[in-house]
Symmetry: C2
Subunit: 492 residues, 2 copies
């Protein structure tokens, strides 16, 4: 063959792999050491990067050093630093050493277990680690591999919702005929995450068939079983087919928890698929003092939660458990000749391709397994509790400053508060918008806002891995300082 050999091209040569990887490790470790020096929320203007980097790919290889220098000089100013200890926005996305190690192993092996044969250990480790998680959350055996249920690791809550919606949809349509797809109805509260709306649109159910049922301050913005039942009855009377209910443990706006057991009973009564979205607060339920929020989970058909949020597992990792994996498989399986193999045809193995949207899949089980083993249940509980304690500490500061008020009681590590100084509600909103803007533009912290029951407020989501007491203290001082300025400006 002769001319094929090119000694300089060895894109996975172990020695170079090791040397270059270690340079990047040092680069990332330095980043964590210096992360507080950057503004948390990027201060760049739209389109800034276009003038910083060439508009087409290089023809020849470039050294790693040049790439790292460009990250430092050109990309870093455009990053919003999710791993900053001063990041209190949205919900945190926990990185950890263990999560990173697991991600490296996942990427290093670069194994794709779409069917069991394609890498048996990857599939069997996923079954195992999903059972571990189920036990930590005290889920009933019906969600575990031993009880004919099972778990799968997906990319996101939206994927979990799309897959379970499709399963629920196809089960009903098989009975009533495909034309009825426009009659299927999905129930949630007005606090349910937007992933549900998106999932409904994706699976071809008319978006107008989502009932975003109203919640109220008096019930902590949780979904009322009575309201649900009334809506179901009304839909049935109007010729609709109630299909799916999404309950939430820890809503995005204010951390509300739906009454799982009571909703589950309504869902059973009307034969709805009942999904529990515990994306954020599911992690907390490994602690006995929070587990009661999942009471009634045995009435659900599926449950999802995101270790990539509050469980020290780097992106991405969403756990989905279902009671009846066959319902997923009925909707999502394909069986092309080029993937057929003896173990799959024996029916004795799990082929995860039929439990998710894509065919290909990353070896996420490796990551979650490393996270759990490296920390252990006790430390993971400590992790949750220390964030909750920091949030409680922040809450106590809010309570002591009469200019502020809590908007809803805190359940987990999300504190919803606001300045209450304005004369009418519009003033209040503007004042709090200004306060939030001042805090975020300082570069010293990043929080976001939400509106519930018509009330605009600021969300302080405690839980970034690097956040310590001093950061929460610093945040509170910053808020007080900016509040004084904003209130003064309002008078002038």
């Amino acid at each position: 063959m002769g001319s094929l050999s090119n000694d300089s091209f060895a894109p996975l040569e172990p020695k170079e792999f090791s040397q270059e990887s270690k340079k990047v490790i040092d680069f990332i470790a330095d980043y964590y050491s210096n992360i507080e020096k950057y503004p948390v929320l990027s201060q760049v203007k739209p389109g800034y990067l276009k003038t910083e980097l060439p508009d087409s790919a290089p023809y020849s290889p470039e050294p790693l050093e040049d790439i790292l220098n460009d990250i430092d000089a050109k990309l870093m100013p455009g990053f919003t630093h999710w791993q900053s200890p001063n990041f209190f926005a949205y919900f945190q996305i926990n990185a950890s050493t263990a999560g990173f190690l697991g991600e490296m192993l996942c990427s290093g092996f670069n194994i794709i277990n779409f069917c069991w044969l394609a890498s048996p250990a990857a599939t069997e480790l996923e079954i195992l680690v999903m059972d571990w998680m189920a036990k930590m959350l005290q889920l009933p055996p019906s969600f575990m591999s031993s009880g004919n249920g099972g778990g799968v690791l997906q990319s996101s809550t939206c994927e979990a919702i799309v897959c379970t919606l499709a399963a629920a949809r196809d089960k009903v349509l098989a009975e009533v005929g495909y034309e009825a797809i426009t009659k299927l109805v999905v129930y949630s509260s007005d606090q349910t995450h937007s992933s549900l709306q998106k999932g409904v649109k994706i699976v071809g159910i008319p978006p107008s068939n989502v009932r975003c049922l109203p919640t109220a301050f008096s019930e902590g913005f949780s979904l009322s079983p009575q309201t649900l039942e009334e809506a179901i009855r009304k839909d049935i009377m109007s010729g609709f087919i109630p299909l799916y209910l999404c309950g939430t443990v820890g809503t995005t706006a204010c951390g509300a928890v739906d009454p799982i057991e009571k909703l589950g009973k309504v869902a059973r009564k009307y034969n709805l698929w009942f999904h529990i979205d515990a994306a954020y607060a599911g992690s907390a339920c490994i602690c006995p003092e929070f587990r009661h929020y999942l009471d009634g989970v045995e009435l659900a058909d599926s449950l999802s939660m995101n270790p990539h949020k509050w469980f020290l597992t780097n992106m991405d990792c969403c756990c989905l458990w279902v009671k009846n994996p066959d319902s997923l498989i009925d909707s999502l399986s394909t069986n092309p000749e080029y993937l057929r193999n003896a173990p799959s045809e024996s029916g004795n193995v799990v082929d995860y391709k039929d439990w998710q949207i894509p065919l290909s899949r990353r070896f996420r089980a490796m990551k979650l397994w490393v996270v759990i083993r490296r920390h252990g249940l006790a430390t993971l509980r400590f992790h949750i509790r220390s964030d909750v304690k920091l949030a409680t500490y922040f809450e106590s500061k809010v309570a002591k400053d009469s200019r502020f008020e809590m908007v809803v009681p805190r359940k987990f590590a999300l504190v919803c508060f606001r300045l209450k100084a304005g004369k009418d509600s519009k003033d209040d909103e503007n004042l709090n918008k200004k306060l939030l803007q001042e805090v975020n533009e300082s570069g010293n912290a990043f929080m976001t806002h939400a509106v519930v029951g018509g009330v605009y407020f600021i969300r302080c989501a405690v839980g970034s891995t690097l956040t310590e007491e001093r950061h929460v203290e610093g945040l509170w001082k910053l808020i007080q300082e900016k509040a004084t300025k904003v209130l003064l400006d309002a008078i002038v």
Copy 2:
């Protein structure tokens, strides 16, 4: 606060991060050095892992060494080694040092750019790198940011298909009414990847509305524009609504290429959304000698290809370009209050959450950018060409052994061949099944099979990053040896 401090709990402390990460780097480098010692295809039996690992999570932290030892002793036997140079199955999933570095940076920053504000540089780098890729593939400006089109990095071809199908579906249903969803028809060939069937099921179009049009040996198993047009006309006559056409550049079974330009003209004539799935062979189109397979791409509405297959980019990374991003946004956008922000509302920025299924997203642009810069266009072309050259070399071996035949002409780095010794076709199939089984059970190579035009054959997909000439030589020797045995057994 006092009791909160726990000096031993610092899950992202830079020094420990660096030390432990480097241990894992050494572990992975050793793995690559020793990878040929493992059987490529795992030889374990279903359920093997259950007895090897505890059935519940540890209560206390475990040392990294124990975890790595368990990977070595307990998981490794259950791995099918996708990065082995003797992996010739399915299509390869390229790992590379550059891909790994990019993945580490992605995971280390752990940035989520669902909207521009959430990390401006991540979004702007993605726009830039998708334009770079578009230029390398010589896509028309209508797919680039400068031409009102644009690219997005997704997890998989299936995600790309779901998103484009939903966009096409909603555009038509907005005109004709939602009830028509059961009348929408999707066209493909019988060689199209199963992701299309799955995508159709997910978006709520009846699976029976997919026309898997027949292909033939005489046309290289490509979709005939005449066959397509006839099918469309028949559907229109029957009251169906032609919606979407999926053309493929490099099919999974045998590497067939659909005639893009001719299909594109039919699609335009009947106003179908035309998607090109170039998951595998798209990478080859950065070489001028392969680019002609994309001729006519200007007639398409969307195009996807997977750098995680043949472009040295570790999992996962799927490029999707669309001419009209608004059509994706119309179907996939959600705008909850808690994500609202000034730049998004200005309309001057890209919010990638509305171009994909999930809300959250990994920083994949970082990875693809590192891969491209670290190698450069010239080296990436060399990479493609050297794999094609190895496949050509293998093909020449097949041609010289009269017991074998090529099943279809080779276009890229996939060789489709078989033993032709049997008396009738059933004998042929059994013989080739036995040959494949013997090769795979030896542990020294892993190939898979397919069936086209009723013919069972063996697929040798050359392209694993570590594969060199000696591995292809070894594979051929192994095949010859096992063929002799299988043929002898058949006589006895």
